[in-house]
Symmetry: C2
Amino acid sequence: MTQKNRMTPKAHFAEKLRLAGLRPTRQRVAIAALLLDGRHRHVTADSLTEEITTAGLHVSGGTVYNTLNQFTEAGLLRRVMVHNDYSLFDTNTDHHHHFYEAENDQLVDIPHDDVILAQLPAAPDGHEIKAVDVVIHIQSKNS
Amino acid sequence: MTQKNRMTPKAHFAEKLRLAGLRPTRQRVAIAALLLDGRHRHVTADSLTEEITTAGLHVSGGTVYNTLNQFTEAGLLRRVMVHNDYSLFDTNTDHHHHFYEAENDQLVDIPHDDVILAQLPAAPDGHEIKAVDVVIHIQSKNS
DNA sequence: ATCTAGTTTAAAATCATTCTAAAGAGCCTT
DNA sequence: AAGGCTCTTTAGAATGATTTTAAACTAGAT
């Protein structure tokens, strides 16, 4: 039974980081508090930096990138691949897919159950499937 | 009835470019001859530049990038999204999916029929589906 | 309180890709 | 085949996201 409710928010996120194998530094806890609060959204290094600034904090650029990568590595975030311009991270790590509208660089979650893969090929010899990503590219009808 | 076999290879690719709405310049024809010969493979700006050099030709870096983008725009190539490090292009523009092994940055085609999407969500209001990309991330079993 | 390995920092470095301005080449018209 | 107009190519500079660097700092164990 989790004692989440008895902990200060800070302690709660520090705990989460420890469980993920990450030393809970001041900046990692601050970023965790922003990204791992259960809300599902998509962030970039840039948008996260903005959030940090808005929260009255400061974390160096390099650390923002490192943290995003470490969180992803640790399974706390998921990297979404839709273009090559910059990295997108999803705070929802559950299995689900995406709509992507290139015109506005808009990414929208698709609930897991809305895509049914009736058949998948076997992974090549000596390999196993780690993840299946479905990206549905959409465009506005009058274009 | 195509007269493909009566044309010189050069004329054949020039024709292909014209049909795609691209002026058949020397460098575009050269690149078309390398990429649009029917063989299915994946290239990067870098690997293509190598091929060009190996063929004893020279095309400036900017033009390689421009051509890759224009061919993609024209539907002669397809951009594959698996990571954010650099762009990958597929000479196979038929509808098909991919296995991606991050360890070796290896991309493998999956025949169209090996993936069956039994159910797809409707596109958000005012939008239509342009393409559905399935990327199956794989890893070697002993890792 | 002390120590040490892991972290953060600001700034420099990297690297793929795009942009720029000038030189060159299709191609239509004569 | 010459002229001309626009689209292309070129080399090099510029951009921008991300990584690296080396030095200053901190979490957590002793």
